[in-house]
Every structure is written in C-alpha cells, then in structure tokens.
C-alpha cells in the first residue's frame, strides 16, 4: 500500500509548511537562508565525490599530490587501469556474479513469492515463519560458515559458488517482499482466469508475473548492484588473483600499495561508481518504494 502512496517524488510541493502568508516581510530573508543551507549541504555532499574525480585526473601517483581541480588533467590513470592492473578481469568477474545473482534472485523470488501468496498447501505457515526467521539471520553470519565449509571441502574460489551463496542469502527477504506485494494484487484476476480454465502455471506467467513488475524491478536492481559493492562474502569465498571482484581489487589497491597508486585507485573507483550512481538516480522511485515496502511488511 505504501508502494502506491510513496511513488511520486516531491513535485511542486503540496506539503509546503505554510510559513509564507503569515510573515510576508521575512520571506526574502528566509528564502536566502534556506538556499544557504541547501548550498552548504550540497557542498559537503559533493566535495568528496568531486575530490575523487579530481584525483583520478591528477598527474602523479600519490595521495599527497592530488587535488580536486588538477591544473593539468590527464586520463593516463584510466588507461593504466585497464592496461597495467587486472581491473578489466575484476570487472568481468563482478559482471558475471551480478548477472547470475540478479537472474537467480528474480526467478526464485517471483516463483516462491507467488506460491506463498496464492497457493494453499500444507506447511505454508511453517514455511513463511522460517523465512521470517532466516531473513533475521544476518547474511554474513552464514557467509562465515560458508567460508569454513568451503575451506574444508575445497570449494573456495568459485564465482558461481559466490553467486549461489548470495542468491540464497537474500532469498528469504526477497520472497517475503514478493509475497507481500502479490498479496495486494486483486485476487479477482486469477479467479476469473481460473473460471476460464487457466491452470496455475498459466495464471502465474500470464497474469501475476506482469503485475509483479515494479517489485521485480526492485529485486533486479538491488541484486544486480549488490555484487559490485559486496566485500565480505567475496573476500571470504574468493582467493586467487584472477577471481577477484572490483570491490576486492579496489580495496587491495588502497590498503596495500597505499601511497603510490592512489590516482589509479581513484580512476577505478570512478569507473565502478558511475554506472551504479546513474542507475540509482534514474530509478530512485522504484528503489525507495521497494525499500519502504519491505519494512512495511516486516
């Protein structure tokens, strides 16, 4: 339900705290003050981001030499990133895990969410309760156990394994989300189809699935972007140099060879952040709505 109410972003502002008519004389001053505050916060928000972009374009290597506005900008570090580090390899690894994680999560969450919401079967209640309990168990706790298990069975260092673990880790929450969303879709739709003789699979594919799209979009975006930023799970599961993900590679760059490859790190950070940032800003509505819907449902 919140899904519907929060959908629109702040437009022309129906909710203006209506100060203006009461104190017309202070209006000019308060406008200036408000904008002053906005500029100040914007500066704090933008400066670190501007700084890393500047660092990626600065000549030299070290952290001490960079400036947010380099006088002689260079793109050398971006070239170095792909020619002298394994960044391209890491990027492809992350992409592989991200796509697998997204596809697996969307399919499983949609199917299981549909079944839990629409099908009556023995064990449904117990199943939902276990899902609720499982989603409380922080994913990284399982990650640590997975590490011990994989370590002893020699399963470490597999990108597919990493994707499977992250799908499973997020699945209880995603199922819960999809189930809650499907509960709010009118049941009259599937009843009508059932009367027309449609089987359950047909009802799912033809009627429910298209209606699930907003929430599926949310699951798809979050699960696609997660592996790019996730650190703890890949750090535990992946070992060899050619199996690293972007997040791991960047962290190693900054923690091991700190002072002498900072600008290359900055370039790598920009390349990682840019697509995700654009995606988030463009799709912000879906993301904020989805996140609040999850809380609404438990």
């Amino acid at each position: 339900m919140t899904a519907k109410t929060i959908e629109r972003p702040a437009p022309s502002g129906t909710a203006t705290p209506p100060r203006r008519r009461r104190r017309p004389r202070g209006e000019g001053l308060s406008t200036v003050l408000i904008h002053l505050e906005l500029v100040l916060v914007a500066a704090v928000v933008i400066f670190p981001l501007l700084w890393v972009v500047g660092a990626s374009l600065s000549p030299g290597d070290g952290l001490g030499e960079v400036s947010p506005f380099p006088s002689e900008a260079t793109v050398d570090h971006y070239v170095n990133l792909f020619t002298e580090t394994a960044y391209g390899r890491w990027y492809l690894n992350s992409l592989y895990v991200a796509v697998l994680n997204m596809a697996g999560s969307v399919v499983l969450a949609a199917v299981c969410g549909f079944v839990f919401s629409r099908v009556k079967f023995k064990g449904r209640k117990a199943g939902l309760l276990s899902i609720l309990i499982l989603q409380m168990f922080p994913a990284f706790l399982a990650a640590i156990a997975v590490y011990m298990l994989f370590l002893n069975f020699g399963l470490l260092d597999s990108l597919t394994g990493l994707a499977l673990v992250s799908i499973a880790g997020a699945l209880p929450y995603n199922i819960w989300l999809m189930k809650g969303y499907t509960d709010n879709l009118p049941a009259s739709l599937d009843e009508a189809a059932a009367i027309d003789g449609a089987g359950r699979l047909t009802i799912f594919v033809k009627i429910i699935l298209p209606l699930m799209r907003p929430m599926l979009t949310f699951v798809a975006i979050t699960q696609f972007t997660l592996p790019w930023m996730d650190f703890i799970l890949p750090r535990l599961v992946l070992q060899s140099a050619d199996k690293q993900t972007v997040a791991l590679g960047l962290f190693n760059m900054i923690s091991s060879e700190y002072a002498n490859s900072y600008t290359t790190f900055a370039a790598g950070a920009v390349v990682l952040a840019l697509p995700i940032t654009i995606l988030y800003i463009v799709l912000q509505r879906y993301l904020v709505t989805g996140a609040s819907a999850g809380a609404e449902k438990g």
Partner: protein, 456 residues
C-alpha cells in the same frame, strides 16, 4: 465397496507394517502404486548407505572404517574423528578431518530428517486409510490419490529449487555455526593436522567469565549500540530536516537539489568509504593538511590511527556514516510529505497555528507513523554494518585492552577478524550466535508490533 477379509484388520497393523518396511502397510491396503513410492525411498536410503559404505570387507565392523554415508556421518558428528594424523614408517598417515566429518554428519542428519518426514507420512497414511476403510469409507486407487496429491504438489515442486538452495546455503551453514560454537576449532586445532573436539559451553564461558574477552565483548557491544542508535536517530533527523526544507515552495529547482542530496545514497558505499578513508588519512590526507594550512592545528591529525584518542576516530566514523545514510531518509520523508493532504495545513492556518506548530503537530506525526518501522530496520542494519567501519578504519585505532579488536570495531568487523584473520573459529561462532540473539530479539519484538505475523 469394502473388501470383506481385509477390512477386519485394525488400523494399527498397516501402520506398524509401514513403520518396519516402508510401503508394506500400503501393500496390505492394496495400494501397490503408493507402496512402491514409499518403498523407493526406503530402498534409496539402504542402497545409499551400502553403496557408500564398505559392508563386504569381511572384517570387524567399525563405523569409522566401514560405515556408509549415514552411519559414518552420524559417527563423525558425535566423535568428530578419533585418529589424528601421525607420522608412521610409510609417511604421514591419513588422519580424520574433524570439520569435514562434522559437516558431512550434519548433511546426513538433514537428509535423514527429510526422510523421516516421508516415513511418518507413510505410516500415518497407511493407518489412516485403513481406518477410513474400516468405517466403510470408499476405496481410492493409487492413481486417484496421486491426482489429488498433484494439486498440493504444485506448490512443492515450484518451491523446491529455492528450498534446496536455502537449505544448503543458509540453513546448513547456520546449523554448522551453531555446532562450531561448541567445539575447539581454532588455530591450535586445525584439521587435518589436529582433531577438533566437543567442548560444551567452554567458549561461552571464555567470553563471559570476566577475562580480556569479556572486556572486549562488552566494549565492542556498547560501541555497536551507540553506533547503531546515533546513526539511526541522526540520519532520520537530518533526512527529515532536508526533506521539509526541500518541500518548501520557496526552493528553486527542488528536483535538482534532491538529486544532489541523493548522491551519497546512490554512490556505492565502498567507494565513498574508501574515498573518505584517504581524505582522512593522517599522513597524506587533504583534511589534515588543510587544517594545518589554515592554522587551526599545529600538527597533522591522525584521525583513525591515534590510539590516544579513540573517540575522535569514533566521532569521525559517525559523521561519515551520517553522510552516507541521511539521503535515504530524506527521500523517504519527501515521499510521505507529498501525500499529506494540504487541507490539514489549511485548517491549521485558520486556527492560527504557527509554522513550527504545524510542523510539530501535523508533519511530524504523519511522517513518523510511516517511517517508524524503517527506524528499527535501520537500527538493525547499522548494527550489522560491516562496510563503513572496515573500509574507513579497519577497526583502528589499536586498543591495547581489547583482544583482536580496535576502538572502532563493531561486533561484525570483530567477528570477521576473529574468523578470517586470527582463525579463532570457535569464538567467532559464539559471537555469531550472540549477534543473532540480539538482532533476532529486536526483530521479533518489531515483528510482534507489525501486522506481518497476523497476515501469515
């Protein structure tokens, strides 16, 4: 309808028969198809055990040497191995690997539990069907039964891929961690070199008994609570404030401002945190340099590494985390604000309410009602926040009073270090359980207040 000779059998007989040999009861009930179905599981269980074991060796039977998947699995789960790796004349002997034994045992136990469900189902089915027959109920062929079953089977078949994944990648690891908490699996007992043993509650005792472990645990726990609480309250407050400002009609181009303020939420946290880490780097970072340049400080400030000033590191971590988290609340509150009916404010104005009164008595309660459940969620996720602290400080500055933890370490980063860096798996497992207990309690409490449970 009912069959005269066999109908006099009491319901208990087919039930008992099915309990001894799976499917036998169904056969007594003349349901061959069903009997075959249950028997297949029985045959599978026995066949698996024999095929994976060594039952024809002709020597004395031991679970260690001859047991199959189930017998050896359960033996391993109980003993965790009996023979360590030793130097013999022919070289290193093959010792027991306690942890693989523990894990295989756990898997065997899970499979057995699953089979037990089918077994109970078969016994109850045999008895119940006979009881229906005895009271003159209609016969049902196996085929008809399966057609009826198909309806509920749809749900199970559709759920099974997700179920298998969750059982093996979430449930199994969770159970495994719980078991490890009761062993001495750590850097001094690393299989296959050494055996691991069950130690009961020793690990819990070590953490709670008043040693350096206790100090570390309580210190880290307190800071984790402060971190989660301050983060939640401060980011909600700042987010609310920014959203109310942006909703003001006097603001030019609110969408542009909004998008700018959303940047910290949109940029991957690992990137922002690593950037802040370098900006606050003591030796080369620009913040320290700038403070020296403008003359505010005489020396460079070592924000995250100055062990004499842990609260400075903590404060900076909190501020940076505020930078990361306020935009989400701003977006959330902004969404709620657009949906508050303008007539509320109209009426309040007529009654002569000041802007501040309207904010306090209209805007705040309405927003709070929607956002409250998210506050709990935010608290829990801050409680489990690994990234910010690890990327910024790696737990530093060092704290001499703590064991393997720095002054800004949260429970989760400490847990990570215990497991990954110091290989104290048993202590890490106990920590995991504590964290789960704390987070679980908060979540259950939250759940009880929400409508989620009632909607099951």
């Amino acid at each position: 309808m009912s069959n005269a000779p066999s109908s006099r059998l009491p319901a208990l007989v087919p039930g008992l028969a099915s309990a001894l040999v799976w499917g036998a009861g169904q056969l007594l009930n003349r349901q061959a198809g069903k009997a075959a179905f249950y028997f297949a599981f029985f045959a599978g269980l026995v066949g698996w055990e024999i095929a994976s074991g060594n039952y024809y060796a002709g020597m004395d039977f031991t679970a260690r040497g001859n047991g199959g998947f189930f017998v050896k699995g359960l033996w391993g789960l109980f003993t965790l191995g009996t023979q360590s790796r030793q130097m013999t004349l022919t070289g290193l002997s093959e010792g027991d690997n306690s942890i693989t034994l523990l894990a295989s045992g756990l898997i065997a136990l899970l499979v057995l539990a699953l089979l037990a469900v089918i077994w109970i189902w078969g016994v109850r089915d045999a008895a119940a069907y006979r009881a229906t027959l005895n009271t003159g109920g209609p016969r049902e062929s196996s085929a008809a039964y399966y057609r009826r079953l198909w309806d509920s089977a749809f749900a199970y078949i559709m759920l099974s891929p997700g179920l298998v994944l969750v059982v093996f990648m979430s449930v199994l690891p969770v159970l495994f961690v719980i078991l490890v908490a009761f062993t001495n699996y750590n850097r001094d007992h690393l299989p296959p070199k050494n055996l691991v043993e069950w130690v009961g509650f020793d690990n819990f005792g070590a953490i709670l008994s008043g040693s350096a472990w206790t100090d570390t645990f309580l210190g880290v726990l307190a800071w984790t609570f402060v971190f989660a609480l301050v983060t939640t309250v401060a980011s909600y407050a700042l987010g609310f404030f920014q959203a109310v400002l942006l909703a003001n009609k006097k603001v030019k181009a609110p969408r542009v401002w909004r998008s700018i303020f959303l940047l910290p939420w949109a940029v991957p946290a690992i990137v922002s945190a690593l950037v802040f880490r370098s900006m606050f780097n003591g030796q080369f970072g620009p913040v320290s340099q700038w403070l020296v340049d403008v003359g505010l400080t005489d020396d460079r400030i070592y924000w995250f590494t100055d062990a004499s000033n842990p609260n400075l590191a903590r404060a900076v971590v909190l501020l940076i985390n505020l930078w990361l988290t306020f935009p989400f609340f701003m977006a959330l509150v902004g969404g709620v604000l657009t949906n508050i009916d303008a007539s509320y404010y109209e009426a309040a104005r007529m009654d002569g309410a000041s802007a501040l009164q309207q904010l306090r008595h209209i805007t705040l309660p309405v927003v709070h009602k929607t956002v409250a459940p998210l506050l709990i969620l935010s608290f829990v996720s801050s409680f489990n926040n690994f990234g910010v602290v690890y990327f910024l400080t790696e737990g530093g500055p060092d704290n001499a009073d703590y064991r393997f933890a720095g002054s800004t370490d949260l429970l989760v980063t400490w847990l990570f270090k215990l497991t990954f860096e110091t290989q104290l798996y048993n202590i890490g497992a106990v920590m995991s359980l504590f964290i789960f207990l704390i987070v679980g309690t908060i979540s259950v409490w939250n759940l009880n207040r929400s409508k989620a449970i009632r909607e099951l």
